[in-house]
């Protein structure tokens, strides 16, 4: 059967003006209206010239692209209005390349729209359901195959095969074992210990209480982070051990996580958000609020680091500090709880 033919003989697959399937009214196609280029040879030639011009320009732009790529140094900066200062090579090759492809596209579409036939064609849909007898044939083929295999009768083969197949993925999973270590106590530990100096984040300088102005904040890390500076693990430890050190009027301190964990109004808290682990960074000295820029959890550092707003569920862990003989800030001990986001075993 020709695909353009309908069983009912009606070109639309309809009967008595109604769609066979849905029953909605069927209207005949609208008569085709010829375009200018269909009847006027001049218009057709004009369209032809337009298309050819676009394709021709496209070729020229490719040549311009190669010239720009070779001739314009990659370091030349130019200023383009609105866009600002840009790399001249980048803009020149991008512009020529992009425009040249765009012209191929517009040319081809213009060609199709102006010069190729625009009369709509009707094609019949084929059934997406197989005839009943074919379905039956499939069923009997399957049944024959199943019977010949004896899958159903030979219970012992079937069961042992299913067992073997069930175990077959085990090696595939076990082989993944060495992807990483077991969690162990890793998430509970940081490299903070008793007597470790607090040092500035970037420059590893020891900090005296007097270095921090009232209301000020310093990003700090444990001094022993420097020892693993060049080891692979250093970012892992930095991600847990980073702290912020703030100084406030001791009278402003409402509560702390432990008695005398501050040193004359200098308090140290973990910098890692207890929500999803972003480093908290925005500190408002008037309210003593610390805000995480990722999801806006807000902690009150003057009140044990409790959450005052946002999705974080737990207060910011505080690090107990004091000073050594020379007056440099040191940790009284490590953190007494895991820092960073929650996890199932955290408790």
């Amino acid at each position: 059967m020709n695909e353009l033919e309908h069983p009912t003989g009606d070109p639309y697959g309809a009967k008595d003006g109604k769609d066979l399937v849905s029953g909605i009214s069927v209207f005949p196609m609208e008569p085709h209206v010829p375009r200018k280029a269909d009847i006027d040879p001049k218009a057709a030639r004009r369209a032809e010239r337009q298309v050819a011009t676009m394709f021709g320009l496209s070729s020229l732009l490719i040549i311009a692209f190669v010239v720009a790529f070779v001739k314009i140094p990659n370091t030349t900066l130019i200023t383009i209005p609105i866009i600002g200062v840009v790399n001249a090579n980048h803009v020149a090759i991008g512009f020529t390349f992009g425009l040249s492809i765009l012209l191929i596209g517009i040319g081809a579409i213009h060609w199709a729209k102006k010069l190729m036939p625009d009369e709509e064609v009707v094609q019949a849909r084929h059934a997406l359901t197989s005839p009943d007898e074919e379905r039956k044939e499939v069923e009997s083929s399957f049944k024959r195959g199943a019977a010949e295999s004896g899958f159903k009768e030979r219970k012992i083969i079937r069961r042992s095969l299913l067992g073997a197949l069930a175990l077959f993925p085990v090696p595939l999973v076990v082989l993944l074992r060495d992807l990483g270590p077991l969690p162990g106590t890793r998430l509970r530990e940081t490299i903070w210990e008793e007597g470790i100096h607090l040092v500035t984040d970037a420059t590893y300088r020891k900090i005296k209480a007097s270095d921090i102005p009232l209301g000020g904040l310093i990003n700090a890390v444990p001094e022993n982070l420097l020892e693993i500076e060049h080891e692979e693990e250093n970012l892992n430890q930095r991600g847990k051990a980073s702290i912020i050190v703030v100084r406030m009027d001791p009278a402003d301190i409402v509560s702390q996580q432990g008695q005398d964990w501050d040193y004359q109004g200098v308090l140290a808290f973990s910098k890692i958000c207890t929500h999803l682990g972003c480093p908290t960074s925005l500190y408002q000295q008037r309210t003593h609020h610390l805000l995480c820029p990722c999801h806006q959890s807000t902690f009150d550092l003057s009140d044990s680091g409790y959450v005052v707003f946002g999705p974080a569920a737990r207060r910011m862990p505080q690090l107990a500090i004091t000073v050594d003989a020379e007056g440099y800030l040191v940790a009284q001990s490590g953190f007494n709880q895991p820092v960073g986001p929650s996890f199932w075993e955290r408790g």
Binding site: L99, I104, G105, A108, F343, E345
Partner: protein
């Protein structure tokens, strides 16, 4: 049929005249491809602007494969730390990973490298956008209905994979922004009950960030996910091809035909040309508009972050959900359940994507509609579905906007706490409201369609009669418009079964079918029937009469 048989008996009989014919004969001698090729060349596709949305997605994917291949030639996913010594002066002497420094090298030292990076990033944004809008088109026109449900599920999988692929891609440069995104992803994984910490340790090869993850993510990004995407896209297209494209109602369009243009030459030129248009526009934007300037963010370190961190737009809804959820956490027998993370990052997205994938079956079950549909619905003609769609879209949009609550707070100088509470409230109030409003608008549009069918369209010409009466002249609508408006099959809600059978015995299975019938009646409630043939005839007669009257009035006025 007979021609095929002949060709099997005598395969090398025809003597091709042209070179192309010779090539075709060579291939056909080996594959018997003639009949397939003929059907391919003659295949008819319907034409509509909205059918190009899927094309944009496909072409963006091809652009991604091409530009991505270029990037692999220079990108190095290693986390080995080095001191940067490239040509970008502000970062000279800074410690960073090779992943980041090779991204800088692509941006500053490789000629055309920045262009390729920006083409890749823009194409990724367009890809997800095109997939999303294409999904909306398919949803609102009912194109997912039988027999296309399987392709809808493949489409849903493609969307999920596109989101994952995009996230993996922008995490690779190891800049400060992408590292922050990965840190959040790792935090979400850790929150999974029972296995979370194990999964996180195995994925990252230990603690975050470690050195193993980036090369692993790279394999996932350039091999695993694109491979699955490519396979699924191929199946998606073959199914569109085999089942034939749906079409909008109009003159000559029925459920059993397809009206449009042939693949060769019209779509070869139009769709082929459109690929170049999409590619060209992407390249031009990449040349002129900077995207993801990683050199400005600096290398990743877990102790730093930039304020106002924003993910790419398509992850925004997830970020918004995480921001809106209150700080709920439960402790059970020494174990932590972080509802503040599980609900927005796993439970809600899980429900959203499951509902999305199953929607064709949910609707078919609710309506009891088992027919095939090749004619698309105009969204107004399926008011409940359209309203459900808009409702979900509003829910999604509120999450997206919430993802920028800090930006809004800064831009409008508002309190972030109040904004967050406002969005929490809106998330539950706005979607139902959107449902009601959308449904009313759809029904109003249906009534207006019926008016057009019965009384014609308003010409805007107003007559004032000698009696002082005003009269607007209506004229009948054209045939094409009529065909479009009348192509609305009447719906039949499921009938409510009785809870007891003929003998007065309670039917234990009745509850389920009653619920289903009620759902069906709700789905089709307030339905506005299309005018019957009789009503149309009568209205046409009436309209003619009115037009005559108006014309005689006009004459009267002119003669005065």
């Amino acid at each position: 049929m007979s021609t095929t048989e002949e060709s099997i008996q005598a395969p090398a009989q025809a003597t091709p005249v042209t070179k192309g014919g010779a090539v075709a004969a060579y291939i056909d001698d080996r594959l018997a491809s003639a009949s397939f090729t003929k059907r391919l060349l003659d295949k008819v596709f319907p034409d509509h602007w909205s059918f190009m949305l899927g094309e944009i997605a496909l072409y963006s994917f091809i652009i991604l494969l091409l530009s991505g291949t270029y990037l692999t030639l220079w990108f190095n996913p290693s986390m080995t730390e080095i001191i940067y010594n490239g040509s970008y002066v502000p970062l000279k002497g800074v410690k960073m990973s090779e992943a980041y420094s090779s991204t800088l090298a692509i941006s500053f030292d490789v000629r055309g490298g920045l262009l390729m990076r920006q083409i890749h990033h823009w194409a990724a944004l367009f890809f997800v956008a095109a997939v999303s809008v294409h999904l909306l088109r398919v949803f609102f026109t009912g194109a997912f209905r039988k027999p296309r449900e399987i392709n809808w599920v493949i489409g849903t999988l493609l969307l999920v994979l596109a989101l994952l692929e995009g996230f993996a891609g922008y995490s690779l440069p190891d800049d400060l922004l992408s590292g922050t995104g990965l840190r959040i992803a790792e935090g979400i994984i850790q929150a999974i009950p029972l296995v979370g910490t194990y999964v996180a340790m195995f994925l990252f090869g230990g603690e975050f960030p470690g050195t193993d993850f980036m090369p692993r993510l790279y394999s996932i990004h350039i091999l695993l996910i694109p491979g699955i995407l490519l396979g699924l896209i191929t199946v998606h297209l073959i199914m569109v091809f085999y089942q034939k494209h749906t079409q909008f109602p109009g003159p000559g369009r029925t459920e059993s035909n397809v009206v449009g243009f042939r693949l060769f030459p019209i779509y070869m030129a139009k769709a082929g040309g459109f690929f170049f248009v999409v590619f060209g526009i992407t390249v031009l934007i990449a040349a002129l508009v900077t995207i993801n300037p990683v050199w400005m963010y600096g290398p990743y370190t877990p102790s730093q972050v930039t304020a106002g961190s924003q993910p790419d737009w398509y992850i925004g809804w997830l970020d918004g959900a995480v921001r809106l959820t209150p700080n709920w956490e439960t402790n059970i027998l020494g174990h932590t359940l972080s509802w503040n993370i599980l609900i927005p990052a796993l439970i809600v997205p899980g429900i959203m994507f499951t509902a999305l994938g199953l929607y064709p079956w949910i609707e078919a079950w609710a309506t009891g509609d088992k027919r095939e549909h090749h004619l698309l619905d105009r969204p107004r003609n399926a008011p409940t579905r359209t309203a459900l769609g808009v409702m979900s879209l509003v829910f999604y949009m509120i999450l997206v906007i919430s993802g920028g609550n800090d930006i809004i707070a800064v831009a409008f100088n508002l309190s972030i706490n109040q904004i967050t509470w406002g969005f929490r409230f809106l998330l539950f109030v706005a979607p139902p409201l959107a449902f009601v409003v959308t449904k009313r608008i759809c029904l109003g549009l249906q009534r207006s369609d019926n008016n057009k069918l019965l009384h014609g369209y308003e010409t805007g010409r107003i007559l004032r009669l000698p009696s002082g009466e005003f009269l607007e002249i209506h004229e009948p609508i054209g045939e094409a418009e009529r065909a479009k408006l009348l192509a609305k099959a009447d719906v039949i809600p499921l009938e409510l079964p009785s809870a007891v059978d003929g003998n007065g015995v309670r039917n234990p299975k009745a509850a389920k079918s009653i619920a289903r019938a009620k759902l069906s009646q709700w789905f089709y409630s307030d339905v506005i029937p299309t005018p019957t043939d009789e009503e149309l005839r009568e209205a046409a007669h009436h309209a003619e009469h009115e037009l005559h009257q108006a014309q005689s009035h006009l004459k009267e006025i002119e003669s005065h």
